[in-house]
Amino acid sequence: MSNQRLLNDVHEIIFKGMDLNIKNILGSLELKFLLEIDEIRLRVNKPLMVCRSNEDFLINKNGKIVKSVDQAFIVRECEIYNSLQLLSQYSLYSIEEELSKGFITLKGGHRVGITGKAIIEKGNIKTIKYVNGLNYRIMREVKGCSQKISKIIRKDSKDLFHTLIAGPPKTGKTTILRDLVRRFSTGDEQYPGLKIGVVDERSEIAGCHRGIPQNDVGIRTDVLDCCPKAQGIINLIRSMSPEVIVTDEIGSKEDLVSIHEALSAGIKIITTVHGANIEELLNRPYISQMIRDRLFEKIIFLDNSKGVGTISSVVDVKDIIRIGIENVS
């Protein structure tokens, strides 16, 4: 993503969904620093904070970085309220569904996380009232970041391994997954493109805004946005004849059933899961079951040891099965 596009996105999309006071303060930040920000955090009666590469910075009313909380600009409830009004285009009722999920996806694939008092109906979050915090997450596409992983996933020119990409939070799983989708979908001279179906439950892969992918997800990709994974996988199999199904953060019983369905239809699966090592994955009942059922052929572990998205290890599931799952840990 070029700096110019990012700057344009920050001014035209992120700042337009922000209270004027906060916008003016952040607008005074040094340009180089502004372009490196990953997150902007607004919390009621707490200092204005921005995050860059897992490090957070407090900002004062003049847009300068300060160390002490006393010097920082304190975000008020009205500023959060105004920001929410702007994010919803003065129409809170139009983002009810987003509020129940706890985030809004903006144009350009950027996202705003929302916290407050959850209103529960029939055991599910119906909406969020008394919003107390907003987290603006600036999305950056890193084109080409999946080069190494794509070589591991490719079985031959037309086939892929069923793959599980695992790692702790913030290790670049989704960024790499997004680039894999773009790469496999578009194809190149050596590898023809594949029809890919993306079930994007949290709008993180394609970053759809009003149903239209804001990120480059390739030319043969069909996206089901905001759809529950298990239901989405079945729908895609029935309606879009994908060769590969891609989804993010699996782990439920329903996911297990739908992945079984996809495999029986001869479709390849690429997905991600939270977990730093094989022991952690085996401790999760449904993931462990998926591994035992050999739903995946490769498990790729990521960490941040040499920068975000470092491949720490690649595990062949058949090797685990061979030595016995009980002996792994």
């Binding site: 004027l20 916008k23 105004n82 009004q85 285009q89 129409s91 809170l92 009722y93 139009s94």
Partner: protein
């Protein structure tokens, strides 16, 4: 002689016109209240069935609604689209007061219109509908009152204009 007749005619027509003008404010108030109730109905439909954001509803209304509400809606819509940093309720209230002279509404009616701007877009769909119902029922009371006044005073002021006109003409003759 001719000049005198012309002068008397001017006086008579002026009195009739003043009477009609005073009567028309009652008619206008009734029509404006009716228009605003329809305006809320339109909002309710758009919000209930398509969750259309306020700005888009306002934009779609500019061709459907007549002056003086047209000017108010265009004013609100333009400010929200171009500047977009001020609360909707403030922009709505300002535009209402800027166009207050073009409206024939009473202070009580205006307060209801301001209240509509205060709640618009601030809650979930269910509560928006509840607010709309409350505002509409209060507007309905105002509308009934406006209709009664219209019946009573429209005829009165029109006739009063003619009578006063004739009275002055007879006095001068």
């Amino acid at each position: 002689m001719y000049l005198k007749i012309l002068g008397l005619m001017i006086i008579f027509i002026s009195c009739v016109y003043i009477g009609k003008f005073m009567a028309s404010s009652y008619e206008k108030r009734y029509i404006e209240l009716l228009t605003f109730i329809n305006f809320i109905d339109y909002f309710e439909t758009e919000i209930s069935y398509t969750s259309t954001p306020v700005i888009e509803i306002l934009d779609s209304l500019t061709d459907k609604i007549k002056s003086p509400f047209k000017e108010i809606i265009i004013g609100v819509s333009e400010e929200l689209t171009s500047y977009g940093y001020r609360p909707l309720c403030t922009v709505w209230e300002e535009n209402l007061y800027n166009n207050k002279n073009k409206l024939s509404l009473s202070q009580e009616d205006l307060e209801l219109l301001i209240y509509f701007g205060n709640i618009l877009g601030t809650t979930d769909m269910e509560n928006q509908k509840k607010y709309f119902t409350v505002i509409k029922s209060r507007l309905q009371v105002q509308l009934t009152q406006a209709y009664e006044k219209k019946l009573k005073y429209t005829k009165l002021f029109k006739e009063l204009g003619i009578i006063i006109g004739l009275f002055i003409v007879i006095l001068i003759i």
